[in-house]
Symmetry: D2
Protein backbone atom coordinates (compact mmCIF):
# COMPACT_ATOMS: atom_id res chain seq x y z
CA UNK A 1 0.00 0.00 0.00
CA UNK A 2 1.17 3.46 -0.91
CA UNK A 3 0.40 4.55 2.66
CA UNK A 4 3.02 2.28 4.12
CA UNK A 5 5.87 3.19 1.76
CA UNK A 6 6.48 -0.25 0.26
CA UNK A 7 8.67 -0.75 -2.83
CA UNK A 8 8.38 -3.47 -5.44
CA UNK A 9 11.80 -5.14 -5.65
CA UNK A 10 11.07 -7.86 -8.16
CA UNK A 11 8.11 -9.16 -10.11
CA UNK A 12 7.69 -12.12 -12.45
CA UNK A 13 5.21 -14.85 -13.40
CA UNK A 14 3.96 -16.25 -10.09
CA UNK A 15 6.51 -14.44 -7.97
CA UNK A 16 7.28 -11.05 -6.43
CA UNK A 17 9.40 -9.36 -3.77
CA UNK A 18 8.39 -6.23 -1.86
CA UNK A 19 10.42 -4.25 0.70
CA UNK A 20 9.71 -1.71 3.42
CA UNK A 21 11.18 -0.09 6.51
CA UNK A 22 9.61 -0.16 9.99
CA UNK A 23 8.75 3.44 10.84
CA UNK A 24 7.49 5.19 14.01
CA UNK A 25 3.91 4.85 12.86
CA UNK A 26 4.19 1.07 12.42
CA UNK A 27 4.89 0.08 16.02
CA UNK A 28 2.65 -2.03 18.24
CA UNK A 29 2.06 -1.93 21.99
CA UNK A 30 5.43 -3.63 22.52
CA UNK A 31 7.44 -1.11 20.48
CA UNK A 32 8.19 -3.50 17.60
CA UNK A 33 6.67 -3.75 14.12
CA UNK A 34 2.90 -4.16 14.19
CA UNK A 35 1.66 -7.52 12.95
CA UNK A 36 -0.52 -5.64 10.51
CA UNK A 37 2.52 -3.92 9.00
CA UNK A 38 4.33 -7.22 8.36
CA UNK A 39 1.13 -8.76 7.00
CA UNK A 40 0.52 -5.83 4.64
CA UNK A 41 4.04 -6.26 3.26
CA UNK A 42 3.54 -10.01 2.71
CA UNK A 43 0.10 -9.37 1.26
CA UNK A 44 1.52 -6.87 -1.24
CA UNK A 45 4.00 -9.49 -2.54
CA UNK A 46 1.19 -12.08 -2.60
CA UNK A 47 -1.07 -9.75 -4.61
CA UNK A 48 1.62 -9.01 -7.20
CA UNK A 49 2.57 -12.67 -7.58
CA UNK A 50 -1.01 -13.91 -7.87
CA UNK A 51 -2.26 -11.17 -10.20
CA UNK A 52 0.67 -11.89 -12.53
CA UNK A 53 -1.44 -14.92 -13.59
CA UNK A 54 -4.50 -12.80 -14.40
CA UNK A 55 -6.98 -11.07 -12.07
CA UNK A 56 -7.33 -12.80 -8.71
CA UNK A 57 -8.80 -12.03 -5.30
CA UNK A 58 -7.60 -13.28 -1.92
CA UNK A 59 -9.76 -15.95 -0.28
CA UNK A 60 -7.86 -17.04 2.80
CA UNK A 61 -4.46 -16.20 4.27
CA UNK A 62 -2.40 -17.38 7.23
CA UNK A 63 0.34 -15.42 8.93
CA UNK A 64 2.77 -17.04 11.38
CA UNK A 65 4.88 -14.63 13.41
CA UNK A 66 8.32 -15.78 14.54
CA UNK A 67 10.36 -12.80 15.74
CA UNK A 68 9.79 -9.21 16.76
CA UNK A 69 11.13 -6.65 14.24
CA UNK A 70 12.63 -3.42 15.64
CA UNK A 71 12.09 0.19 14.56
CA UNK A 72 14.18 1.11 11.52
CA UNK A 73 14.66 -2.46 10.29
CA UNK A 74 14.39 -3.12 6.57
CA UNK A 75 11.91 -5.94 5.88
CA UNK A 76 11.54 -7.96 2.69
CA UNK A 77 8.68 -10.22 1.60
CA UNK A 78 9.32 -12.78 -1.13
CA UNK A 79 6.33 -14.58 -2.67
CA UNK A 80 6.54 -17.85 -4.59
CA UNK A 81 3.82 -19.95 -6.18
CA UNK A 82 3.05 -23.25 -4.44
CA UNK A 83 0.14 -24.31 -6.61
CA UNK A 84 -1.69 -22.93 -9.64
CA UNK A 85 -4.91 -24.35 -11.03
CA UNK A 86 -7.68 -22.97 -13.23
CA UNK A 87 -9.75 -21.46 -10.43
CA UNK A 88 -7.43 -21.10 -7.45
CA UNK A 89 -3.75 -20.62 -6.65
CA UNK A 90 -1.68 -20.71 -3.46
CA UNK A 91 1.42 -18.70 -2.56
CA UNK A 92 4.02 -18.88 0.18
CA UNK A 93 5.58 -15.61 1.29
CA UNK A 94 8.68 -15.48 3.46
CA UNK A 95 9.18 -12.28 5.42
CA UNK A 96 12.79 -11.55 6.38
CA UNK A 97 14.56 -8.86 8.41
CA UNK A 98 18.07 -8.60 9.84
CA UNK A 99 19.02 -11.80 8.01
CA UNK A 100 16.31 -13.92 9.64
CA UNK A 101 12.90 -15.31 8.81
CA UNK A 102 10.53 -13.21 10.91
CA UNK A 103 7.18 -14.40 9.57
CA UNK A 104 5.64 -16.86 7.11
CA UNK A 105 2.52 -16.07 5.08
CA UNK A 106 0.45 -18.63 3.16
CA UNK A 107 -2.33 -17.34 0.93
CA UNK A 108 -4.91 -18.68 -1.49
CA UNK A 109 -6.63 -16.69 -4.25
CA UNK A 110 -9.68 -17.21 -6.40
CA UNK A 111 -8.80 -16.54 -10.06
CA UNK A 112 -11.43 -14.33 -11.67
CA UNK A 113 -10.61 -15.22 -15.25
CA UNK A 114 -9.83 -18.79 -14.57
CA UNK A 115 -9.32 -19.99 -18.13
CA UNK A 116 -5.91 -18.78 -19.00
CA UNK A 117 -3.15 -20.63 -17.20
CA UNK A 118 -0.17 -20.04 -19.51
CA UNK A 119 1.18 -23.26 -20.99
CA UNK A 120 3.74 -24.96 -18.83
CA UNK A 121 2.99 -23.06 -15.64
CA UNK A 122 0.63 -25.53 -14.01
CA UNK A 123 -1.16 -28.78 -14.53
CA UNK A 124 -4.85 -28.26 -13.97
CA UNK A 125 -6.57 -31.61 -13.67
CA UNK A 126 -10.22 -32.41 -14.12
CA UNK A 127 -11.95 -32.00 -10.82
CA UNK A 128 -9.68 -29.31 -9.47
CA UNK A 129 -10.87 -25.88 -8.55
Amino acid sequence: MATLGFQVLRQGPGEAAVGGVVGEGHLNLHGTAHGGFLYALADAAFALASNSRGPAVALSCRMDYFRPVPLGARVEAVAEEVHLSRRTATYRVEVRALGKLVALFTGTVFRLGGEDVPAGTGNPTQGEA
Copy 2:
Protein backbone atom coordinates in the same frame (compact mmCIF):
# COMPACT_ATOMS: atom_id res chain seq x y z
CA MET B 1 -1.88 1.64 13.51
CA ALA B 2 -1.76 5.39 13.73
CA THR B 3 -0.78 5.48 10.05
CA LEU B 4 -4.08 4.03 8.95
CA GLY B 5 -6.32 6.29 11.02
CA PHE B 6 -8.09 3.65 13.09
CA GLN B 7 -10.20 4.50 16.14
CA VAL B 8 -10.80 2.37 19.21
CA LEU B 9 -14.57 2.07 19.60
CA ARG B 10 -14.76 -0.24 22.60
CA GLN B 11 -12.39 -2.11 24.85
CA GLY B 12 -12.97 -4.56 27.68
CA PRO B 13 -11.57 -7.77 29.20
CA GLY B 14 -10.97 -10.07 26.24
CA GLU B 15 -12.81 -7.89 23.74
CA ALA B 16 -12.40 -4.81 21.60
CA ALA B 17 -13.87 -2.98 18.60
CA VAL B 18 -11.91 -0.81 16.19
CA GLY B 19 -13.19 1.26 13.25
CA GLY B 20 -11.71 2.85 10.14
CA VAL B 21 -12.63 4.30 6.76
CA VAL B 22 -11.31 3.05 3.40
CA GLY B 23 -9.26 5.89 1.94
CA GLU B 24 -7.58 6.49 -1.44
CA GLY B 25 -4.31 5.14 -0.12
CA HIS B 26 -5.87 1.83 0.96
CA LEU B 27 -6.99 0.52 -2.41
CA ASN B 28 -5.71 -2.60 -4.15
CA LEU B 29 -5.24 -3.41 -7.83
CA HIS B 30 -9.02 -3.90 -8.15
CA GLY B 31 -9.94 -0.51 -6.67
CA THR B 32 -11.38 -1.92 -3.43
CA ALA B 33 -9.93 -2.04 0.09
CA HIS B 34 -6.55 -3.75 0.21
CA GLY B 35 -6.53 -7.06 2.10
CA GLY B 36 -3.76 -5.64 4.23
CA PHE B 37 -5.96 -2.73 5.31
CA LEU B 38 -8.79 -5.01 6.46
CA TYR B 39 -6.29 -7.30 8.18
CA ALA B 40 -4.61 -4.39 9.98
CA LEU B 41 -8.01 -3.29 11.31
CA ALA B 42 -8.83 -6.83 12.53
CA ASP B 43 -5.35 -7.17 13.97
CA ALA B 44 -5.72 -3.93 15.92
CA ALA B 45 -8.90 -5.23 17.58
CA PHE B 46 -7.19 -8.59 18.22
CA ALA B 47 -4.18 -6.86 19.84
CA LEU B 48 -6.36 -4.77 22.16
CA ALA B 49 -8.51 -7.74 23.16
CA SER B 50 -5.59 -10.08 23.81
CA ASN B 51 -3.38 -7.56 25.62
CA SER B 52 -6.30 -6.79 27.94
CA ARG B 53 -5.36 -10.11 29.61
CA GLY B 54 -1.72 -9.10 30.11
CA PRO B 55 1.14 -8.80 27.60
CA ALA B 56 0.73 -11.12 24.62
CA VAL B 57 2.28 -11.54 21.18
CA ALA B 58 0.60 -12.89 18.04
CA LEU B 59 1.63 -16.39 17.00
CA SER B 60 -0.63 -17.28 14.10
CA CYS B 61 -3.58 -15.60 12.39
CA ARG B 62 -6.00 -16.50 9.64
CA MET B 63 -7.94 -14.04 7.52
CA ASP B 64 -10.87 -15.13 5.32
CA TYR B 65 -12.06 -12.53 2.82
CA PHE B 66 -15.72 -12.59 1.81
CA ARG B 67 -16.62 -9.36 0.00
CA PRO B 68 -14.85 -6.42 -1.62
CA VAL B 69 -15.13 -3.16 0.34
CA PRO B 70 -15.44 0.07 -1.66
CA LEU B 71 -13.65 3.40 -1.23
CA GLY B 72 -15.18 5.53 1.52
CA ALA B 73 -16.83 2.65 3.35
CA ARG B 74 -16.69 2.62 7.14
CA VAL B 75 -15.34 -0.71 8.41
CA GLU B 76 -15.60 -2.12 11.94
CA ALA B 77 -13.68 -4.99 13.49
CA VAL B 78 -15.09 -6.63 16.63
CA ALA B 79 -12.87 -9.05 18.57
CA GLU B 80 -14.15 -11.64 21.04
CA GLU B 81 -12.29 -14.25 23.07
CA VAL B 82 -12.78 -17.86 21.98
CA HIS B 83 -10.34 -19.46 24.40
CA LEU B 84 -8.04 -18.29 27.20
CA SER B 85 -5.48 -20.46 28.91
CA ARG B 86 -2.33 -19.78 30.92
CA ARG B 87 0.03 -19.61 27.96
CA THR B 88 -2.11 -18.99 24.89
CA ALA B 89 -5.42 -17.42 23.89
CA THR B 90 -7.49 -17.36 20.71
CA TYR B 91 -9.72 -14.59 19.37
CA ARG B 92 -12.31 -14.34 16.62
CA VAL B 93 -12.66 -10.98 14.89
CA GLU B 94 -15.60 -10.16 12.63
CA VAL B 95 -14.99 -7.41 10.10
CA ARG B 96 -18.16 -5.65 8.90
CA ALA B 97 -18.93 -2.92 6.37
CA LEU B 98 -22.17 -1.71 4.80
CA GLY B 99 -24.11 -3.99 7.13
CA LYS B 100 -22.39 -7.17 6.02
CA LEU B 101 -19.66 -9.51 7.20
CA VAL B 102 -16.77 -8.78 4.83
CA ALA B 103 -14.01 -10.81 6.48
CA LEU B 104 -13.35 -13.17 9.39
CA PHE B 105 -10.09 -13.17 11.35
CA THR B 106 -8.98 -15.89 13.77
CA GLY B 107 -5.85 -15.27 15.81
CA THR B 108 -3.82 -16.98 18.53
CA VAL B 109 -1.44 -15.26 20.93
CA PHE B 110 1.33 -16.41 23.23
CA ARG B 111 0.86 -14.83 26.65
CA LEU B 112 4.14 -13.44 27.93
CA GLY B 113 3.20 -13.31 31.59
CA GLY B 114 1.16 -16.43 31.55
CA GLU B 115 0.39 -16.72 35.25
CA ASP B 116 -2.38 -14.28 35.80
CA VAL B 117 -5.66 -15.36 34.27
CA PRO B 118 -8.19 -13.44 36.34
CA ALA B 119 -10.51 -15.71 38.31
CA GLY B 120 -13.55 -16.78 36.41
CA THR B 121 -12.32 -15.86 32.96
CA GLY B 122 -11.00 -19.22 31.88
CA ASN B 123 -10.42 -22.75 33.01
CA PRO B 124 -6.78 -23.64 32.52
CA THR B 125 -6.34 -27.36 32.83
CA GLN B 126 -3.18 -29.31 33.51
CA GLY B 127 -1.50 -30.05 30.22
CA GLU B 128 -2.78 -27.03 28.37
CA ALA B 129 -0.54 -24.42 26.92
Copy 3:
Protein backbone atom coordinates in the same frame (compact mmCIF):
# COMPACT_ATOMS: atom_id res chain seq x y z
CA MET C 1 -14.97 -41.38 7.92
CA ALA C 2 -16.39 -44.83 8.39
CA THR C 3 -13.00 -45.93 9.70
CA LEU C 4 -13.22 -43.65 12.69
CA GLY C 5 -16.76 -44.55 13.74
CA PHE C 6 -18.33 -41.12 13.49
CA GLN C 7 -22.10 -40.59 13.63
CA VAL C 8 -24.11 -37.85 11.97
CA LEU C 9 -26.15 -36.20 14.71
CA ARG C 10 -27.84 -33.47 12.74
CA GLN C 11 -27.85 -32.13 9.21
CA GLY C 12 -29.57 -29.16 7.60
CA PRO C 13 -28.99 -26.42 5.02
CA GLY C 14 -25.54 -25.04 5.79
CA GLU C 15 -25.16 -26.88 9.09
CA ALA C 16 -24.32 -30.27 10.56
CA ALA C 17 -23.26 -32.00 13.77
CA VAL C 18 -21.12 -35.12 13.96
CA GLY C 19 -20.10 -37.13 17.04
CA GLY C 20 -17.44 -39.69 17.92
CA VAL C 21 -15.68 -41.33 20.84
CA VAL C 22 -11.90 -41.28 21.45
CA GLY C 23 -10.72 -44.88 21.15
CA GLU C 24 -7.41 -46.65 21.82
CA GLY C 25 -6.42 -46.29 18.19
CA HIS C 26 -6.91 -42.50 18.22
CA LEU C 27 -4.29 -41.54 20.79
CA ASN C 28 -1.19 -39.45 20.15
CA LEU C 29 2.28 -39.56 21.70
CA HIS C 30 0.87 -37.89 24.82
CA GLY C 31 -1.95 -40.40 25.35
CA THR C 32 -4.73 -37.99 24.43
CA ALA C 33 -6.83 -37.71 21.25
CA HIS C 34 -4.69 -37.29 18.15
CA GLY C 35 -5.04 -33.89 16.46
CA GLY C 36 -5.89 -35.77 13.28
CA PHE C 37 -8.83 -37.47 14.98
CA LEU C 38 -10.33 -34.18 16.17
CA TYR C 39 -9.72 -32.62 12.76
CA ALA C 40 -11.36 -35.53 10.95
CA LEU C 41 -14.46 -35.10 13.13
CA ALA C 42 -14.61 -31.36 12.43
CA ASP C 43 -13.95 -31.97 8.76
CA ALA C 44 -16.83 -34.46 8.55
CA ALA C 45 -19.26 -31.85 9.93
CA PHE C 46 -17.77 -29.24 7.56
CA ALA C 47 -18.20 -31.56 4.57
CA LEU C 48 -21.85 -32.29 5.38
CA ALA C 49 -22.68 -28.63 5.98
CA SER C 50 -20.95 -27.38 2.83
CA ASN C 51 -22.22 -30.11 0.51
CA SER C 52 -25.78 -29.39 1.67
CA ARG C 53 -25.50 -26.34 -0.63
CA GLY C 54 -24.49 -28.46 -3.66
CA PRO C 55 -21.19 -30.18 -4.47
CA ALA C 56 -18.19 -28.45 -2.91
CA VAL C 57 -14.54 -29.25 -2.27
CA ALA C 58 -12.36 -28.03 0.60
CA LEU C 59 -9.81 -25.35 -0.29
CA SER C 60 -8.27 -24.29 3.00
CA CYS C 61 -8.90 -25.14 6.64
CA ARG C 62 -7.56 -23.99 9.98
CA MET C 63 -7.66 -25.97 13.21
CA ASP C 64 -6.92 -24.38 16.58
CA TYR C 65 -6.40 -26.81 19.45
CA PHE C 66 -7.33 -25.67 22.95
CA ARG C 67 -7.44 -28.67 25.29
CA PRO C 68 -6.30 -32.29 25.35
CA VAL C 69 -9.15 -34.82 25.08
CA PRO C 70 -8.81 -38.08 27.08
CA LEU C 71 -9.45 -41.66 26.01
CA GLY C 72 -13.13 -42.58 26.07
CA ALA C 73 -14.40 -39.02 25.82
CA ARG C 74 -17.37 -38.32 23.57
CA VAL C 75 -16.59 -35.48 21.14
CA GLU C 76 -19.05 -33.43 19.10
CA ALA C 77 -18.37 -31.15 16.13
CA VAL C 78 -20.99 -28.57 15.17
CA ALA C 79 -20.64 -26.76 11.84
CA GLU C 80 -22.33 -23.47 10.98
CA GLU C 81 -22.17 -21.34 7.86
CA VAL C 82 -20.29 -18.06 8.18
CA HIS C 83 -20.50 -16.99 4.56
CA LEU C 84 -22.03 -18.34 1.36
CA SER C 85 -21.42 -16.93 -2.09
CA ARG C 86 -21.73 -18.27 -5.61
CA ARG C 87 -18.27 -19.78 -5.82
CA THR C 88 -17.05 -20.18 -2.24
CA ALA C 89 -18.41 -20.67 1.27
CA THR C 90 -16.88 -20.60 4.75
CA TYR C 91 -17.84 -22.62 7.82
CA ARG C 92 -16.97 -22.46 11.50
CA VAL C 93 -16.92 -25.75 13.39
CA GLU C 94 -16.81 -25.91 17.18
CA VAL C 95 -15.44 -29.13 18.66
CA ARG C 96 -16.62 -29.87 22.20
CA ALA C 97 -15.90 -32.59 24.76
CA LEU C 98 -16.63 -32.88 28.48
CA GLY C 99 -18.66 -29.68 28.30
CA LYS C 100 -15.82 -27.57 26.94
CA LEU C 101 -14.64 -26.12 23.64
CA VAL C 102 -11.59 -28.24 22.80
CA ALA C 103 -10.87 -27.02 19.27
CA LEU C 104 -12.07 -24.55 16.65
CA PHE C 105 -12.06 -25.31 12.92
CA THR C 106 -12.53 -22.73 10.15
CA GLY C 107 -12.86 -24.00 6.60
CA THR C 108 -13.47 -22.63 3.12
CA VAL C 109 -14.84 -24.58 0.15
CA PHE C 110 -14.95 -24.07 -3.58
CA ARG C 111 -18.48 -24.71 -4.85
CA LEU C 112 -18.41 -26.90 -7.95
CA GLY C 113 -21.86 -26.00 -9.21
CA GLY C 114 -21.69 -22.42 -8.18
CA GLU C 115 -24.96 -21.23 -9.70
CA ASP C 116 -27.56 -22.47 -7.31
CA VAL C 117 -27.57 -20.62 -4.02
CA PRO C 118 -31.12 -21.22 -2.81
CA ALA C 119 -33.12 -18.02 -2.46
CA GLY C 120 -32.70 -16.34 0.88
CA THR C 121 -29.61 -18.24 2.00
CA GLY C 122 -26.98 -15.74 0.97
CA ASN C 123 -26.41 -12.46 -0.76
CA PRO C 124 -23.96 -12.99 -3.57
CA THR C 125 -22.76 -9.64 -4.81
CA GLN C 126 -21.17 -8.77 -8.11
CA GLY C 127 -17.45 -9.20 -7.82
CA GLU C 128 -17.53 -11.91 -5.19
CA ALA C 129 -16.14 -15.36 -5.69
Copy 4:
Protein backbone atom coordinates in the same frame (compact mmCIF):
# COMPACT_ATOMS: atom_id res chain seq x y z
CA MET D 1 -2.66 -43.07 13.74
CA ALA D 2 -2.56 -46.83 13.95
CA THR D 3 -6.17 -46.87 12.76
CA LEU D 4 -5.27 -45.41 9.41
CA GLY D 5 -2.31 -47.68 8.63
CA PHE D 6 0.39 -45.02 8.31
CA GLN D 7 4.09 -45.90 8.21
CA VAL D 8 6.99 -43.77 9.40
CA LEU D 9 9.39 -43.47 6.48
CA ARG D 10 12.00 -41.19 7.98
CA GLN D 11 12.58 -39.34 11.22
CA GLY D 12 15.29 -36.92 12.31
CA PRO D 13 15.79 -33.72 14.33
CA GLY D 14 13.00 -31.37 13.21
CA GLU D 15 11.92 -33.52 10.28
CA ALA D 16 9.89 -36.62 9.43
CA ALA D 17 8.19 -38.41 6.55
CA VAL D 18 5.08 -40.58 6.86
CA GLY D 19 3.33 -42.63 4.17
CA GLY D 20 -0.08 -44.20 3.67
CA VAL D 21 -2.42 -45.62 1.05
CA VAL D 22 -5.94 -44.35 0.31
CA GLY D 23 -8.29 -47.21 1.21
CA GLU D 24 -12.05 -47.77 0.75
CA GLY D 25 -12.73 -46.45 4.23
CA HIS D 26 -10.96 -43.15 3.54
CA LEU D 27 -13.15 -41.81 0.74
CA ASN D 28 -15.28 -38.68 0.89
CA LEU D 29 -18.62 -37.87 -0.73
CA HIS D 30 -16.83 -37.38 -4.07
CA GLY D 31 -15.08 -40.77 -4.05
CA THR D 32 -11.58 -39.36 -3.47
CA ALA D 33 -9.44 -39.27 -0.33
CA HIS D 34 -11.18 -37.58 2.57
CA GLY D 35 -9.63 -34.27 3.62
CA GLY D 36 -9.37 -35.71 7.13
CA PHE D 37 -7.27 -38.62 5.86
CA LEU D 38 -4.75 -36.33 4.14
CA TYR D 39 -4.67 -34.07 7.18
CA ALA D 40 -4.09 -36.99 9.55
CA LEU D 41 -1.12 -38.07 7.44
CA ALA D 42 0.37 -34.56 7.45
CA ASP D 43 -0.36 -34.22 11.15
CA ALA D 44 1.48 -37.48 11.89
CA ALA D 45 4.62 -36.18 10.15
CA PHE D 46 4.22 -32.84 11.96
CA ALA D 47 3.91 -34.58 15.34
CA LEU D 48 7.04 -36.68 14.79
CA ALA D 49 9.08 -33.72 13.55
CA SER D 50 8.00 -31.39 16.37
CA ASN D 51 8.31 -33.92 19.19
CA SER D 52 11.85 -34.71 18.04
CA ARG D 53 12.74 -31.40 19.75
CA GLY D 54 11.16 -32.44 23.07
CA PRO D 55 7.49 -32.72 24.07
CA ALA D 56 5.24 -30.37 22.12
CA VAL D 57 1.51 -29.93 21.52
CA ALA D 58 -0.19 -28.56 18.40
CA LEU D 59 -1.62 -25.05 18.71
CA SER D 60 -2.80 -24.14 15.24
CA CYS D 61 -2.62 -25.80 11.83
CA ARG D 62 -3.58 -24.87 8.29
CA MET D 63 -4.30 -27.30 5.49
CA ASP D 64 -4.53 -26.21 1.86
CA TYR D 65 -5.98 -28.77 -0.54
CA PHE D 66 -4.81 -28.70 -4.16
CA ARG D 67 -5.82 -31.91 -5.91
CA PRO D 68 -8.15 -34.86 -5.37
CA VAL D 69 -6.37 -38.14 -4.53
CA PRO D 70 -7.88 -41.35 -5.92
CA LEU D 71 -8.53 -44.70 -4.20
CA GLY D 72 -5.40 -46.82 -3.97
CA ALA D 73 -2.95 -43.94 -4.34
CA ARG D 74 0.14 -43.94 -2.13
CA VAL D 75 0.48 -40.62 -0.28
CA GLU D 76 3.57 -39.24 1.43
CA ALA D 77 3.83 -36.36 3.91
CA VAL D 78 7.22 -34.73 4.47
CA ALA D 79 7.64 -32.34 7.40
CA GLU D 80 10.40 -29.76 7.70
CA GLU D 81 11.08 -27.18 10.39
CA VAL D 82 10.46 -23.57 9.41
CA HIS D 83 11.17 -22.00 12.78
CA LEU D 84 12.23 -23.20 16.22
CA SER D 85 12.28 -21.05 19.33
CA ARG D 86 12.22 -21.76 23.05
CA ARG D 87 8.45 -21.90 23.40
CA THR D 88 7.05 -22.49 19.92
CA ALA D 89 8.03 -24.04 16.61
CA THR D 90 6.50 -24.07 13.13
CA TYR D 91 6.60 -26.82 10.51
CA ARG D 92 5.71 -27.04 6.83
CA VAL D 93 4.45 -30.40 5.58
CA GLU D 94 4.16 -31.18 1.87
CA VAL D 95 1.72 -33.94 0.96
CA ARG D 96 2.45 -35.66 -2.34
CA ALA D 97 0.74 -38.38 -4.39
CA LEU D 98 1.19 -39.57 -7.97
CA GLY D 99 4.23 -37.31 -8.30
CA LYS D 100 2.35 -34.12 -7.46
CA LEU D 101 1.86 -31.79 -4.51
CA VAL D 102 -1.71 -32.52 -3.40
CA ALA D 103 -1.83 -30.50 -0.17
CA LEU D 104 0.23 -28.17 1.99
CA PHE D 105 0.08 -28.20 5.79
CA THR D 106 1.50 -25.48 8.05
CA GLY D 107 1.49 -26.13 11.80
CA THR D 108 2.65 -24.44 14.99
CA VAL D 109 3.34 -26.20 18.31
CA PHE D 110 3.76 -25.08 21.88
CA ARG D 111 6.90 -26.68 23.35
CA LEU D 112 6.15 -28.11 26.79
CA GLY D 113 9.73 -28.27 28.00
CA GLY D 114 10.80 -25.12 26.32
CA GLU D 115 14.33 -24.90 27.67
CA ASP D 116 16.27 -27.37 25.66
CA VAL D 117 16.82 -26.29 22.08
CA PRO D 118 19.89 -28.31 21.10
CA ALA D 119 22.88 -26.13 20.26
CA GLY D 120 22.97 -25.03 16.66
CA THR D 121 19.40 -25.89 15.82
CA GLY D 122 17.84 -22.49 16.32
CA ASN D 123 18.50 -18.99 17.48
CA PRO D 124 16.12 -18.11 20.26
CA THR D 125 16.20 -14.39 20.86
CA GLN D 126 15.07 -12.49 23.91
CA GLY D 127 11.45 -11.60 23.53
CA GLU D 128 10.50 -14.55 21.39
CA ALA D 129 7.96 -17.12 22.41
